[in-house]
């Protein structure tokens, strides 16, 4: 059933008349052309499609678009502010925390959620919090280092 959905997408108010049951992933990728959010497994197993809804990491391939009505959605394209990369993006570059780069947007947004909830995570907390995001190139060790580094910067270097 089609219905008009209103939500904030990367800081901008959007309204869209769509079938309410469509998955957010495909609405982002087709209707909005935001292709930084990736399709990986279609069942919520890999995390490539991770976006933020009200600053919480969700699997967009499993989230009907009706569930973002009235909410705030952030994709990888909306993370940099006024051309300044987010500390996580900078840290991923600095630590070379990627290879093919396909899982990277999901990794960064899942880490964002992790650091919002816990500004000083332990190594174990990072690994646990990131465990559902898969990287076949297996850059895990560097992603952990990047998250630790970004956490420091987000705390103001403390």
């Amino acid at each position: 059933m089609s219905k008009t959905i209103r939500f904030k997408l990367n800081g901008q108010a959007k309204s869209l008349t769509v079938d309410r049951e469509r998955m957010l992933l495909w609405v982002l990728r087709t209707d909005f052309g935001l292709t930084g959010t990736k399709f990986g497994c279609g069942e919520g197993c890999c995390g490539a499609c991770t976006v933020l809804v009200n600053n919480e990491a969700v699997r967009s391939c499993q989230l009907p678009v009706k569930d973002v009505d009235g909410k705030k959605v952030t994709t990888i394209e909306g993370l940099a502010k006024n051309g300044d990369l987010h500390p996580l993006q900078k840290a991923f570059i600095k630590h070379d925390a990627l290879q093919c780069g396909y899982c990277t947007p999901g990794m960064i947004l899942n880490a964002y959620d992790l650091l919002i909830k816990n500004s000083r995570p332990t190594l174990k907390e990072i690994k646990d919090g990131m465990d559902e995001n898969l990287c076949r190139c297996a850059s895990y060790q560097r992603i952990v280092q990047a998250i630790q580094d970004a956490a420091r910067e987000m705390r103001g270097g403390r």
Binding site: R22, M23, W26, R29, T30, G33, L34, T35, G36, T37, K38, F39, G40, C41, G42, E43, C45, C46, A48, T75, I76, E77, L79, A80, L85, Q89, F92, I93, K94, D96, L98, Q99, C100, G101, Y102, C103, T104, P105, I108, I126, K127, D128, M130, D131, E132, N133, L134, C135, R136, C137, A138, S139, Y140, Q141, R142, I143, V144
Partner: protein, 715 residues
């Protein structure tokens, strides 16, 4: 060099005639200085010449210093995450004496780049690197000649720094490459006479450089095949059989046609639905009623090994020396074991994807592929077009590992685009990705080996079935030995595997190294000595000794007879010209059989290391990825039916598995560069097997080493 090292696909036709003639090609290039060069083993080219085969025109790669001073390197290679977009640019910039940021790599586009067989086998740096450097040296020499004329000086008085040629004693006399190339149109074929930079003069090679494509990848701007859009584009979903070998007996597509906006395509074996909304395409596919006849099932993941032995073809001798009977006679202890390895998936996070556009008699396909030029040939033949009318453009590729060397999805997209008259995007679902994966083949290795009273290996009789011969040859000093390979990854034996198999990161070598190094560890234990000491006693190969010692130093290896209870493992390996030694520490839960890998140290000798940062990333990736096949990854199947269709049952390594990883790159600046994308994965099975044995005394002969198998092997 052994055949299997680069025979990954039909590598013999490396450097086939580029689609354009040289004259046509040069017309297209525009101004500047262009150096054309060939990539390929000169011995192969020479052999082809002797056999009277058509030779490559005279180049299959080129670089250009444009009139704006920017340097472009055009190569049919592809960036898959392995970092060659960075390391090749480093080699080029260093030799040409330009800053790294003026170098553009143009990769894989079949209209812009000369022919290349494909990106696999850790060959890009090994085979492409040296001619690329030589071409850059030649370009530098041409530019210096031009500068000599311009500055009225002799070439020997001139030096270059950051793209500016200057007079050694009169520094104000200078001219930039851009000024020199302006209005010029010079094309040279590489003669290989220009003097290469001395390794001690490298300023960019050997320095760690971060990924050049990272900015696009952290901001979501990097475009993969599925991210591309064409006006009027439709998304396809294709009807798939429930098992390999199943025959379609009846199909009713009327339900699909009722899904608004759906186009149904039925063309011979290809039944697909097209829709502008990918979810509606999926919905329409569900409405197709199809009946299939599945072939009678015999093999599964348990009985496959006996089946393979039964159908194995005659073996080929990989290497031999001495006399096996004599070796057995002088051995004091003879150990005979069989090692098994299951099917493993590539499981890249990006599934096979392609977007195809067919307009008139021209086709363009953007595809996630390791082999754009072979795809071009496939599309041309399927669509009945001349090859020159087909263009393949590989955007960023979301991982390959050998899995994106066949291009079924590209051909499917091309056919559907032609049949529908619309641009069509095919993105395989995860289930399709598992189903059509060309798995690393299940394999068996049988080894009979002996030692004498002084712990010296006196007999080595080795047979590998179906993995392939790469990495099968031992590197120990053994007087009586033979290595045989039965069946190969590349030449399919009829009736062997019930589905597709193919190259998987360091093909064959993971299986071979698991078996060989496990067996060496077993013999060390039989001899009652430390496995490192046992290796050093039985080695003469200096490079292997050097990596073993380097790893031992970093690890803090203390000699002990296994099982020592410490959970330490050791293995050595060779792949793609690179030498490796791994050491690992694990913890095993005796009750559950669960293994926790705590630490892995890897020393790698890859000759001249171009980008130490990139090399270390590849090593870490190899080590972590290797945990998967060592401990968990195994395709479950019955006949042609694949049961693992997503990451819920097919587990790949995750954050929580990641051990502490320490890597050492032994940089040999005088040596030629060797492979880096695959080697460090080959030891992971054996090093973990030994660490498990050292921890709890359980010797596991089958990968993956699951908790059940470990518990069953517990003493």
């Amino acid at each position: 060099m052994k055949d299997d090292e680069y025979l990954d696909l039909d590598f013999k036709d490396i450097g086939i005639l580029p689609p354009l003639s040289r004259r046509e090609f040069l017309k297209l290039l525009g101004g500047g200085v262009v150096i054309l060069f060939s990539v390929g083993d000169p011995l192969i080219l020479e052999a082809q010449r002797r056999r009277g085969e058509a030779l490559p025109d005279d180049f299959n790669a080129f670089l250009r210093i444009g009139e704006d001073g920017r340097v472009s390197c055009f190569t049919g290679k592809v960036e898959l995450g392995q970092g060659v977009i960075t390391s090749l640019a480093q080699m080029l910039a260093d030799e040409l004496e330009v800053p790294l940021d003026v170098v553009d790599m143009v990769m894989g586009d079949t209209d812009l780049c000369p022919y290349d067989r494909g990106t696999y086998g850790s060959m890009t740096t090994r085979f492409f690197g040296p001619p690329l450097r030589a071409a850059a040296a030649e370009a530098r020499a041409v530019l210096i000649e031009l500068a000599a004329e311009h500055l009225q000086a002799s070439p020997s008085q001139l030096k270059v720094k950051e793209g500016v040629v200057y007079h050694e004693s009169q520094r104000q006399k200078k001219v930039s490459y851009a000024q020199l190339t302006k209005g010029k149109k010079i094309a040279r074929r590489l003669k290989g006479e220009a003097v290469l930079e001395k390794p001690s003069d490298f300023t960019i090679v050997g320095k760690p450089v971060l990924h050049r494509d990272a900015m696009e990848k952290v901001t979501g701007k990097a475009k993969f095949a599925g991210d591309l859009r064409e006006p009027g584009m439709l998304y396809a979903r294709i009807l798939r059989p429930p098992a390999h070998g199943a025959k379609l007996t009846s199909v009713d597509t009327s339900g699909a046609k009722k899904v608004k906006g759906t186009r149904v395509i039925e063309d011979d074996d290809l039944i697909a639905v097209l829709h502008e909304d990918p979810e509606q395409a999926a919905e329409a596919l569900k409405q197709i009623q199809a009946q299939w006849m599945k072939p009678v099932v015999k093999v599964d993941e348990k009985n496959i090994f006996g089946h393979l032995i039964k159908v194995a073809p005659e073996g080929d001798v990989v290497s031999e020396g001495g006399n096996l009977a004599k070796g057995e006679e002088i051995s004091k202890v003879v150990v005979e074991e069989t090692y098994l390895d299951g099917y493993v998936a590539h499981a890249t996070i990006e599934t096979h994807t392609a977007l195809a556009k067919v307009e008139g008699d021209k086709a363009t396909i953007w595809a996630s592929t390791q082999t754009p030029f072979p795809l071009k040939g496939d599309v041309a033949s399927v669509l009945g077009l001349p090859e020159k009318n087909v263009r393949i453009i590989p955007p960023f590729v979301g991982g390959g590992f050998g899995g994106k060397t066949r291009n079924q999805q590209g051909v499917e997209a091309a056919r559907l685009a032609k049949l529908s008259g619309k641009p069509v995007q095919v993105t395989w679902t995860r289930a399709e990705e598992f189903f059509y994966d060309t798995f690393r083949p299940a394999a068996v290795v049988k080894i009979k080996a002996g030692i004498n009273g002084s712990a010296l290996v006196t007999l080595w009789d080795y047979g590998v079935y179906f993995a392939g011969s790469r990495g099968s040859e031992h590197f120990y000093d053994i007087p009586h030995h033979r290595t045989m390979a039965f069946g190969s990854v590349w030449r399919r034996t009829p009736g062997s595997h019930p589905f597709g198999t193919g190259a998987w990161r360091a093909p064959a070598n993971n299986t071979n190294t698991f078996a060989r190094e496990s067996h060496i560890n077993i013999m060390a234990a039989k001899a009652g000595i430390d496995p490192l000491e046992f290796r050093l006693k039985n080695l003469k190969d200096k490079r292997m000794i050097r990596v073993l010692k380097a790893a031992a130093k970093k690890f803090g290896w203390k000699p002990a007879k296994a099982p020592s209870g410490r959970g330490y493992g050791i293995a050595g390996g060779r792949d793609s010209g690179t030498y490796l030694a791994h050491m690992a520490e694990v913890e095993v839960d005796k009750k559950t059989g669960q293994v926790k890998v705590k630490r892995v140290v890897c020393a790698q000798d890859m000759g001249l290391c171009i980008n130490p940062a990139g090399a270390k990333i590849q090593m870490e990736g190899c080590i972590t990825m290797g945990l998967g096949y060592a401990l968990k990854e195994d395709i479950h199947f019955k006949g042609g039916e694949i049961f693992d269709l997503n990451f819920d049952t097919y587990e790949i390594p995750r954050f929580s598995w990641t051990p502490k990883i320490e890597t050492i790159v032994i940089d040999d600046r005088e040596a030629t560069p060797q492979g880096g994308g695959e080697p460090a994965i080959v030891c992971m099975g054996a090093v973990i097997a030994e660490a498990i044995y050292d921890a709890v005394g359980a010797r596991v002969f089958q990968m993956p080493m699951t908790p059940e198998r470990i518990k069953a092997a517990m003493p």
